[in-house]
Symmetry: C2
Subunit: 408 residues, 2 copies
């Protein structure tokens, strides 16, 4: 009889695992809280009006419609036992379990900051941030206020991309749209507590990224830590210096924490690291349970003394490894192959770190564009996104600039 | 000194009025509750996953960015005096006022039905209905329930288009996506209290539309009135017959009522009809106030004994007339020119009533498609929508099938 495989989470890791079990004689149940796979690396484009939610998200069951050994269930897993998982509405027994529920924001013990500075992990996050940014310009036009400060907290890829896109929007996209205010006078502040932005990149590229952000008009503040946040107010500290700014919108890109489902594995003997990630064995299972795998951003594993980063390529590689392992094709430990990192800054700049090859500026942006379009799920999305980007590159327009209120 | 024109509402009527004052020596303030102009005739496509919100909506200030005599204010008008309007946050004095705030749903005194059967007027309405329809399929897949009844109340153009699109989705788009349930077994019920659907069309076309809906698998029930509605239950009556159905999702397309801003004109001497619309003089002003115009769906006016219908072409013609009148180019009364009506049914059928010429089936669908793409605001939208439709016509796919919860 075919074995039962339960996969929890339809992100890069879970989806790749399911797809790589296409020819296996197993019954797969993929459970996700939402009905869609989200192409998270482009979420900042939705948050800044460059793309629509449907451009970067596809129904999971649609992606897997031709794979007859998968059923997709939209539900939330609340508990894990050695033999089955329990969801809000039912139970699913497994022979093999793959947990791939990813990560969420982390406010370092200041959970009350969330309202003032939403993070960017889901589609509702993105449309909410989009509404907040656009609403700030609308409010200024209404009241004639000229003080328009946007604050982005955290100089990782998300923070850099958001800061660049907001600056781009203020300087170019919205330039002609207002009568009372001058959007291009908006101040975009990027606060990074560490000594440089894009800390996981080589130093030279961090420096390039700072220059490119400065050219777009972003004020990069490295060494500045956010010590207090409330709606409309933020306190930054750098050594003995302290400064309070009054941002019209703040975006949080500073910290992530693993999904809370990791905690459900503790009674089974798993250990969590300080970010809530599950410490996995080199074969991505948890101790004592060779049939329970944890993959993607939820998994904590070091390789050559360095932690495997929480990026899409690592998640996909883990998904593929686990699919092989379930089919007994793999016995050697998981090995992450770092193919490089790319970040984009505004509409024609970026940095690329491909190991020995490093470059920045327009070529990095073009490489980023090509790779992201290539990996977008579903042909239609790729084509539409390409046209949309080609168009907005020429016109600097961002067409998805809707403020939609769902609490009306 | 240039006169002040205040336009309330950025729909077809208000936007057209503003655009036709392009060369006038006036200062225009256009006030809308939202930041976008919505191409409402395509809203049912968003509600059924065929298009994304940004495909049918553009920021008003972006549409008018090159028209220097307009400023756009996102705000809600709460009161009207003979000289100024009051919004939530300010006051705007006018020499000429144009009120074009349109219409909303009407539950004939059963406002508690709204939760069970949302109507389709705004983007949040559309994404909410989309989530409800898709969620019904997800729930059925989870529970294995095979009873999937969708109820559309009201056989006007919106009801007909929604019923056709839901049937199309169940029979074709989702056909391969589920494992436990068979989406094509879903029942789509269209309940119309009157004796025929599309009552404003010639009888022969109503009949054609019924046939085309039946071919898509829609159960058309004319003469059946909804007498009770609650989440998951609906009671229908036809003479002495009574039937209770248990719809997994219900869409309200039965009644509209004019925007509540009409009531603010009563103290100025205006009269409202029973749908809450403002009874205007033949020059679209209200009695005693030759500088206060009411246009679009909010205006009640008869011509040749027949009421002018609440459709986009009438709203645009009124907007143009008022712009001319403000520039003293017009003294004769407003005259509505009916250029015909088109409704679409599923992916390749429809009915067209162009006065002397009437046709149905694929030619009507093609005419509908061409006209709607032509009138979509903004070149990018038109191109993208065309590609999206061409693609979904070939594949029967609906790419924007996202369930996004904003109350998480």
């Amino acid at each position: 009889m075919a074995e039962e495989v339960v996969i929890v989470g339809g992100g890069f890791a879970g989806l790749t695992a399911a797809q790589n079990l296409k020819r296996a004689d197993v019954n797969i149940t993929l459970i996700d809280r939402t009905n869609h796979h989200l192409f998270q690396p482009l979420l900042y484009q939705v948050a800044t009006g460059g793309l629509s939610p449907a451009d970067i998200a596809s129904p999971i069951r649609h992606i897997l419609r031709k794979q007859d050994n998968v059923r997709v269930i939209e539900d939330t897993v609340v508990d894990v036992t050695p033999d089955f998982v329990r969801t809000m509405t039912g139970e699913y027994a497994f022979d093999h379990l793959v947990i791939a529920t990813g990560a969420t924001h982390h406010y370092f013990g200041n959970d009350d900051w969330e309202d003032a500075a939403p993070g960017l992990k889901t589609l509702p996050d993105a449309t909410r941030i989009r509404a907040r940014i656009l609403e700030a310009f609308e409010r200024a036009e209404r009241t004639g206020s000229s003080d328009l400060t946007f604050l982005v907290v955290g100089g990782g890829p998300t923070g850099v991309e958001m800061a660049g896109a907001i600056a781009e929007m203020a300087r170019h996209t919205l330039r002609r749209d207002f009568r009372t205010i001058d959007p291009s006078a908006a101040r975009v502040l990027l606060a990074e507590a560490g000594s440089r932005i894009l800390a996981t990149y080589p130093k030279a590229l961090s420096h390039k990224a700072e220059q490119q952000l400065a050219r777009l008009g972003v004020e990069v503040r490295t060494g500045w830590q956010v010590t207090d946040l409330s709606p409309g107010s933020a306190t930054l500290r750098c050594g003995d210096l302290e400064e309070t700014v009054n941002p019209v919108a703040t975006v949080w890109g500073a910290g992530v924490r693993a999904s809370s489902l990791g905690a459900a594995l503790v009674p089974l003997g798993a250990a969590l690291d300080r970010m809530g990630r599950v410490e996995v064995l080199p074969d991505l299972t948890i101790p004592g349970h060779p049939n329970i795998h944890v993959v993607g951003d939820l998994a904590a594993l070091t390789q050559g003394g360095k932690p495997i980063p929480g990026v899409a390529p690592a998640a996909m590689q883990m998904g593929r490894y686990v699919a092989d392992r379930i089919q007994n094709k793999k016995s050697e430990p998981f090995r992450y192959r770092d193919k490089g990192n790319l970040a984009t800054i505004g509409r024609s700049a970026g940095v690329a770190d491909l190991g020995r090859i490093r470059f920045s500026g327009f070529p990095a942006w073009a490489a980023w564009l090509g790779i992201h379009i290539f990996f977008l799920i579903g042909f239609q999305n790729r084509l539409l996104v390409m046209i949309q980007w080609a168009w907005s590159y020429v016109t600097r327009n961002r067409s998805a600039r809707l403020i939609v209120r769902y609490d009306d």
